[in-house]
Assembly symmetry: C2
Homo-oligomer: 262 residues x 2
Amino acid sequence: MKAGIYQMKPLFGKKEANLRKAETVISNLKCDLIALPELFSTGYSFISKAELGNYAEQIPGGNTTEFLVELACKNSCYIAAGLAEIENDDLYNTAVFIGPHGFIGKYRKLHLFYKEKFIFKAGNLPLQIFNMEGIKVSLIICFDWIYPEVCRSVALKGAHIVIHPSNLLKPWAQMAMRIRSVENRIFTMIANRVGVESRSGERLKFSGRSQISDPKGEILLSFPKAREAFACVDIDPAVANDKLFTPHNHLFNDRKPLMYDL
Amino acid sequence: MKAGIYQMKPLFGKKEANLRKAETVISNLKCDLIALPELFSTGYSFISKAELGNYAEQIPGGNTTEFLVELACKNSCYIAAGLAEIENDDLYNTAVFIGPHGFIGKYRKLHLFYKEKFIFKAGNLPLQIFNMEGIKVSLIICFDWIYPEVCRSVALKGAHIVIHPSNLLKPWAQMAMRIRSVENRIFTMIANRVGVESRSGERLKFSGRSQISDPKGEILLSFPKAREAFACVDIDPAVANDKLFTPHNHLFNDRKPLMYDL
């Protein structure tokens, strides 16, 4: 299958323009699976709940989700993307998984980064596996990378591919996700953004370098740090079923949960 | 404090010579804490329990441990080192922690690598914290690196420094231990070996590149891949008390154990 990433530069607050950008790339890229960044349709630097509330949507049912559903249907592909969710009065930093036959599921970011804590509510849904025609896909979002428990949890549930929509600033996630691939023998896909947002005195420069790592930690795709980019690569998700690091080391069966204090 | 590593090339089966090599380096290096590789006193490639049984020792009480106790006393330092242990008829791949006033404790490798499983019994002691005058030190051994649960467990118990005596062959542990430092905000010290052992048709080339990473993942010390080396650096273990990745992200308090399936 072809797995792709759109390393996008969302325009802050310009939802319609961002959806069009995504449409153009997805229609041209011809992937089976494509990952977009965290908060791809709105940008990142919201300064209050009130401000973000004007942009957040219901999931499913909101415009952005419906737009992605149509796009996935039209292009016969699966799409993972991050967007702002509203449910009652609560705002979540959410990622959706959508297939050619419609909305499949969502994940709400468990580990909020920095000032996101003032705006978003932390995720309250279980870490999940989504079914892509037998391939097990899971979603994590941005700062979740630093918690090895996250990828471990979904890998133990059978994830072949962990998709990681991000708005990364710091340089560590690329190395960490490579190690998440190695320690769990899974594919990992970072869909990071690029560009700069300057709001309320804080200048955020997003760090790009989106990547796909295979279950042995090899980098299959790697993007530059400061430019929009999109591409896809052929992957065989079944490779992630093999947890043998050596003929005598099955990484999951050799765990010693009774000896860990977690 | 000064933390050091001796990236050693043990001579297979030449215990007396290996102890003398360690003595020479430790006496010259003048560290507060020095780490030696896994199985430093015997070499690695034992082909049977019977063969290893001739070299394994009681811990404490065996010659190698007693030798290290004297060395630590004479040089007023702490020593972490890997050696083969025998208890009743069981053999363990063990690491000891020894201070200027004697034997402090031991750790038995939990995750045996490859054919080690045919010779050693897997560790059956809890992951532990050893006290070095208020600094909390923990030991893990070689292939334990691939299990994020190991460093996480000892970091949650308060470890400032994780010492990692190793006989590494593959190239991933250096990157992984750097990430262990970042995700746990701890110092990590890989004490790997160099050299080649060819026994019973298998040629093992050990990969060197010993390193010390600080709690932000910066490399403080890094050795070449194929030569013996020793050096020490100044570290401030108290830095590892600070688990704030940002002013709003305490890495341990922000964990969501109820959401993990481990």
